[in-house]
């Protein structure tokens, strides 16, 4: 029986799902979290923030001997276990990748798991078996795009959007949510919302990621290619699922290459808009390039 005075923050109702925000969504990507929660509420789901979550470490360690790097992710999985839950949903593509890969890495080898558990004094041992999901998987595989289409209140008719996947949603194959070189999940979602998704050759190519810190010139070059390809395909908006891609695509778009920049939104902002979420919960004001002038032309805001 749950303690009435100190109820678990998450009951085992299938539409309440433990959710891992990650640092970026509490910082530069607040619009991502706000719009996602509002959109999921409109679909009848509650993203219940994981109690006492900690930074996942952002990048997954690719070395065989760096067990310490898995401690952050595993601590979060322990928090899911403490709730008696078996799933954890993420929004940030980098968090998704790191948590999903770490979960597989420690789950694949009992000895590894034992060592990691020996590092953690305060927490109960992690037993394995927590499934890390990205919100797009939940939307596609559980909610279903037909259901979403049926709940659309404002079809995004004529909005030409370039879905930009980047790397971490798709690679490596073990955790990729779609085909690594020819993904379609965002296209299917945007079609369900009534928008016009555009195919463009850079949709799964790297933006330069954290090299924005060490070698911004390389990132600028990547961004120029990605944005030009989207523009050539006829895009009015670029939509992403990664706060680092979003930052790079916004910050490194240069007016020297083209006088009018392309707005880079989170996919959840378009989802929430189409589901009829009020404008003040869409987080458009937090973006460097405001999409509202474009959207008001279509009478969507």
């Amino acid at each position: 029986m749950p303690d009435a005075k100190n109820p678990s923050p998450i009951t085992h109702h299938p539409s309440r799902i433990p959710y891992f925000p990650g640092c970026a969504l509490k910082d530069q990507a607040e619009a991502f979290e706000e719009s996602a929660r509002a959109a999921m509420a409109a679909l009848g789901y509650e993203l219940a923030e994981l109690p006492r979550w900690n930074c996942c470490g952002t990048v997954y360690s690719l070395a065989t001997d760096d067990l310490m790097r898995h401690l952050g992710p595993v601590r979060n999985l322990v928090r899911v276990q403490e709730l008696g839950e078996t799933r954890l949903v993420t929004l940030c593509a980098m968090c998704y990748n790191t948590l999903a890969r770490s979960s597989r890495f420690v789950g694949a080898d009992p000895e590894r798991l034992e060592r990691i558990n020996a590092f953690m004094d305060e927490e109960a041992d992690y037993r394995g078996g927590v499934e890390v999901l990205h919100l797009l998987q939940l939307l596609r595989d559980e909610v279903g795009f037909e259901e979403i289409e049926a709940k659309v209140k404002k079809p995004l008719a004529g909005v030409r959007v370039a879905p930009y996947y980047g790397c971490m949603l798709l690679r490596p194959r073990e955790v990729g949510i779609d085909a690594p070189d020819s993904p379609e999940v965002l296209e299917a979602l945007f079609s369900a919302l009534g928008a016009e998704p555009l195919d463009f050759p850079q949709k799964a190519e790297c933006c330069g990621a954290y090299q924005t810190v060490s070698d911004p010139e390389i990132v600028r070059e990547r961004v120029r290619e990605i944005v030009s390809a989207a523009r050539r395909a006829g895009a009015e908006l670029i939509a992403t699922s990664c706060p680092l891609c979003q930052f790079n695509l916004e910050t490194h778009q240069s007016v020297a290459h083209h006088p009018s920049p392309i707005t880079v939104v989170y996919f959840t902002q378009l989802l929430a808009l189409a589901l009829g979420v009020p404008e003040d919960k869409l987080g458009f004001a937090g973006l460097k390039f405001d999409p509202r002038p474009l959207l008001s032309e279509r009478e969507l805001v």
């Binding site: 910082d27 952002t58 690719l62 070189d181 990621a209 954290y210 810190v213 060490s214």
Partner: protein, 142 residues
């Protein structure tokens, strides 16, 4: 009378011939850290063809791999592992299943563990978000 060649020598059938006794320590170390079989690479160059950062590398990803196969430790001073953004495009495309991103990580770690750094604090541009800082420091600093 000399024995005819092949009469009594056991034949290798369907087995990969791999002489590990003489494997240089450097190669063994990179294999251990990356968890990859470096000799699987047959130098097709597909990794380099798809690498969006190859333009900025002094050695292409397949050349980096070749240098490691040859136990040429000068590869540790190559710029390539520091330019690699761990995008994993090469990893999903290699026809031999070699995850080059892991090899690049192993090479970075060999330098980082000697106290080298791929990032100087004074050179960090202003205004970069936390997600980029954590990623870069984890990848590029000891």
């Amino acid at each position: 009378m000399a024995e005819r060649i092949g009469d009594s020598t056991p034949r290798l059938t369907g087995q990969a011939l791999r002489i590990t006794a003489g494997e240089p320590e450097f190669v063994a170390k990179v294999e251990e850290l990356s968890g990859e079989n470096l000799y699987a690479c047959y130098q097709c160059g597909k990794c380099a063809a798809g690498c969006l950062f190859a333009d900025h590398m002094d050695f292409l990803p397949n050349q980096v791999l070749r240098l490691v196969q040859l136990a040429d430790e000068s590869v540790l001073t190559s710029r390539a592992p520091w330019v690699c953004a761990s995008c994993l495009a090469c990893a999903v495309r290699c026809p031999k299943g070699v995850d080059i991103a892991k090899v690049m990580e192993a090479l970075r770690l060999l330098s980082l563990r000697q106290g080298e750094t791929g990032l100087r604090w004074a050179e960090i541009p202003p205004g970069v978000p936390q997600i980029a800082l954590v990623g870069a420091t984890r990848k590029l600093t000891p």
